[in-house]
């Protein structure tokens, strides 16, 4: 087969790689990086444009959901009967379907269409879309979204991200969208054939701060031109609708971009974990969107937009950490060493006690921030504290999970190594989701 441009470039790079010149010049790392980026660009796919979103007759003002009426001023960790029902059905789905498909989805780096279809049948999107726009949401339900996310991640974090990304876009449009944006995009999410959608915030550089994206949006007449590179974007190759964070002259903002837009393409850069999420880099080269597609009305709050994504990641960490605990308990009770189950040793049992302690600690901080968000109270500080705690404790639980299984834990025969890889995402990922 004739070599294409990339093939030629690769063979040239291979010759270069063998030479000692690179080392003498101190250029080896740069060259390796170059080789990688070349292929990364080479496998670029254009984004999907399967759907035409149509405007109807927008109302005068956007639909906004009120804080739920069922909470009193009292401290209460109880959930409503409806939330219990939703949690039970999502838990069953997660343990029956997501767990069973987790290994395959991780290997294939995508969540199967059948799984996405079954998830859709749970009707989760309905709870993200207001009643007036065809959904079932009568009041803000951030806590319910959290309970759903936790249960899904208890089944499998990677597939949970793929399932939750579209719901996150619907949540964000409900919370922040203008009347026009809601009218054009939201009803389709309550459709049987709801669009795949995702949120792009993260960018590929160390110490990334979501408040200062380097992806830029500049005005060009009545349009915005967006350029930059996003990373860890779930469903990037499949999504029909994107919410993309970019810097503008008046601060960071979010733009609604339809799949298939000129200049919008998804690269390839497989990650350590959450592989089933279908995450990819998203490349934006002067992507043109109309001015009306800047997300939000006067009440848009970029900080809260980011924080509601961060809280979703904290919630996923809780679910997956719970999966680790669920798994190591029977394992350590059954695995024998020196004539008795290893759980009979304090060195093992205390690690499990610590998992239980810190898992509950993660829950309390995350739940609190989410409750405040639902009730319309400030939650920036609470989110910051939740993320600060959760990313460390979740990773500790991930690494202890592998440790408890010893050599077994290091192999793909057991799920703990996947949870280890998935849990690292929580300290890294921004966006992708929105409670």
């Amino acid at each position: 087969m004739a070599k294409d441009a990339i093939g030629l470039a690769l063979s040239a790079l291979n010759r270069l790689a063998g030479s000692s010149m690179l080392d003498r010049l101190g250029m080896r790392h740069t060259a390796e990086r170059l080789a990688y980026r070349l292929t990364k660009g080479g496998f670029q796919v254009i984004t999907t444009s399967a759907r035409a979103f149509k405007s109807g007759t927008p109302s005068d003002k956007p639909e906004r959901l009120d804080a739920p009426g069922h909470t009193t001023g009292l401290f209460d960790l109880g959930i409503t009967d409806e939330q219990q029902m939703i949690r039970d059905s999502v838990r069953a789905f997660a343990s029956d379907i997501l767990q069973a498909n987790a290994e395959q989805a991780d290997a294939e780096q995508r969540t199967g269409d059948a799984v996405l279809g079954q998830a859709r049948e749970l009707g989760l999107n309905f709870f993200a879309v207001p009643e007036t726009l065809g959904g079932a949401a009568a009041e803000r339900s951030t806590v319910t979204s959290m309970l759903v996310a936790e249960e899904l991640a208890r089944g499998d974090m990677g597939q949970a991200v793929a399932i939750l990304a579209p719901m996150g876009v619907a949540n964000a449009l409900t919370r922040w969208g203008s009347a026009l944006q809601q009218d054009k995009y939201l009803p389709s999410f309550a459709d049987e054939n709801a669009p795949l959608a995702t949120i792009a915030v993260c960018e590929p550089r160390p110490l990334f701060d979501p408040m200062t994206p380097r992806t830029t949006a500049t005005r060009d007449g009545d349009d915005w031109l967006i350029s930059g590179e996003k990373s860890l974007v779930p469903l990037a190759a499949e999504a029909e609708l994107f919410l993309i964070a970019a810097a503008t002259d008046d601060g960071p903002a979010v733009f609604i971009v339809e799949g298939g837009s000129n200049g919008l393409s998804a690269g390839e850069d497989p990650a350590m974990g959450i592989r089933a999420s279908g995450q990819r880099p998203l490349l934006l080269d002067k992507v043109r969107v109309p001015a009306a597609n800047r997300l939000g009305d006067d009440d848009f709050n970029y900080r809260e937009f980011i924080d509601l994504g961060t809280l979703a990641w904290c919630t996923l960490a809780i679910g997956t950490a719970q999966a680790v605990l669920d798994y190591v308990v029977p394992y350590c009770n059954e695995r024998k060493a020196f004539g008795e189950p290893i759980s009979h040793r304090q060195a093992v049992a205390f690690m499990i006690a610590d998992i239980a302690i810190e898992l509950d600690a993660m829950r309390m901080l995350t739940y609190r921030a989410v409750c405040r968000a639902e009730q319309g109270k400030p939650f920036q500080r609470e989110t910051h504290l939740a993320r600060t705690l959760v990313k460390d404790k979740a990773m500790q639980i991930g690494t202890d999970g592998v440790q408890l299984l010893g050599g077994h834990g290091f192999t793909h025969e057991y799920p703990v190594e996947r949870w280890y890889r998935d849990l690292r995402a929580v300290g890294v990922a921004f966006g992708g989701l929105h409670l």
Partner: protein, 400 residues
């Protein structure tokens, strides 16, 4: 779901904080230096607390209120005495942990009496300050290994043994003593007895010199043929395994309380350290923690740990208020707050440098005070055993 402190607790929190800042803090250093000297300033505070307990239990914050409160019959959620006691105690320890422990008539013995005494006993011991004597030289965490004996002798029990680590043991009016009516029968035979000072055969052996909480005296007490009236036995005199369980249940209510002691002293350290570092740090929760300076990141981490421990304690207390079984949650809250409180107070000394290490500031004192809170009322390790046994479904024989 709602994770906030209800408005109705604001007055009790505020009252306790006023006592902490205006009564406790100014004399904190004085009694840290003058170990074994009774802080007479506490008598007034204790009277105020008595008044609260008497007339308005809903607004008091003494240990004698733990475990009380009934669930509303309408099935509604309750925020009651356990939560409130925890919140009040947290504020007092924000002032000074030693003083809270030394508070007249608020001893752990009072909590035990409140939890298991008959109506007649409640009446008879009303207004008495009761200390709690469990630990022995040979039995600490392993309270089933208690060697102090109580032998029936007509209308009395004869107590023989040595008790140590009795908080306010000398200052109190009486001591609730754990003793075995038959050492061969193990924990089932352990009963608690109210022994009043002045009973012949009860003798103060010494007062300990300690690392911290020096304002709170810690007594060693010897019992030799000490005759205690039979009607001073708390609970059921029959030997049965239920009895010990009942005693241990007291801890389900007091562990979140001790967790709040740790949270109180830790908040004092954290708050003072933030003040001392104010010039160096812009504390705004805006950047991801890894983008902050090392000191700032450390403060965020400590605050996150503190908050998580705080809400775990509220969870355990809330469960007690709503009559939900909370053994694991009580242990989780104690384990978490115990280690977090100790970590924070020590780290704050480190961050403040020599300013934190010397006696001009209270940071070094708080770092000494906090250590006991990861030890008494069940050490870190005992809490982990309780949690692990429950999570793993193992007995104490399987997981020793």
């Amino acid at each position: 779901m709602n994770i906030e402190i209800p408005k109705k607790f604001k007055p009790v929190i505020n009252n306790a904080r006023q006592v902490a800042l205006n009564t406790f803090r100014p004399i904190s250093r004085k009694y840290d230096r003058a170990e074994h000297q009774r802080p007479k300033e506490l008598d007034m505070v204790a009277s105020v607390l008595d008044g609260f307990n008497e007339g308005d239990p809903a607004n008091s914050a003494g240990a004698s209120q733990t475990g009380k409160g009934k669930v509303q019959q309408d099935g509604g959620v309750k925020n009651g005495a356990n939560m409130m006691t925890c919140l009040g105690a947290l504020e007092f320890c924000y002032g000074d942990t030693g003083f809270l422990l030394a508070m007249p008539r608020q001893g752990l013995g009072n909590a035990a009496i409140a939890a298991v005494a008959s109506d007649e006993q409640l009446q008879r011991f009303k207004g008495k300050w009761a200390a709690m004597a469990i630990t022995e030289p040979g039995a600490g965490s392993d309270s089933a290994a208690i060697r102090t004996t109580a032998k029936e002798d007509g209308d009395h029990y004869l107590l023989n043994g040595e008790k140590i680590y009795v908080t306010s043991g000398e200052r109190a009016d009486c001591v609730v003593v754990w003793a075995s009516v038959d050492p061969k029968l193990g924990r089932a035979a352990i009963k608690s007895f109210v022994v009043e000072w002045g009973t012949p055969g009860m003798e103060l052996a010494r007062l300990e010199k300690k690392l911290g909480i020096r304002a709170s005296d810690t007594a060693a007490i010897n019992f030799s043929d000490c005759r205690v009236p039979k009607e001073n036995l708390l609970g059921n005199p029959e030997v049965d395994t239920q009895g010990f369980g009942g005693v241990m249940e007291t801890f389900d209510n007091t562990r979140p309380l001790v967790a709040c002691f740790a949270l109180g002293v830790a908040r004092a350290s954290l708050e003072r350290t933030r003040e001392l570092l104010d010039d160096a740090i812009n504390y705004d929760y805006s950047k991801p923690v890894d983008n902050a300076s090392a000191a700032e990141a450390e403060l965020y981490r400590m605050e996150a740990e503190w908050e998580s421990a705080y809400w775990l304690a509220m969870k355990a207390a809330w469960m007690a208020d709503n009559k939900q079984s909370n053994s694991v949650e009580a242990s989780i809250s104690k384990a978490k707050a115990g280690r977090v409180g100790n970590y924070i107070t020590l780290k704050c000394v480190e961050l403040a440098g020599s300013v934190g290490y010397t006696e001009d500031e209270l940071l070094e004192k708080w770092a000494r005070d906090s250590k006991i809170l990861d030890i008494f009322e069940g050490t870190q390790q005992i809490q982990k055993l309780i949690i692990a046994r429950r999570v793993l479904g193992l007995t104490s024989k399987e997981l020793k």
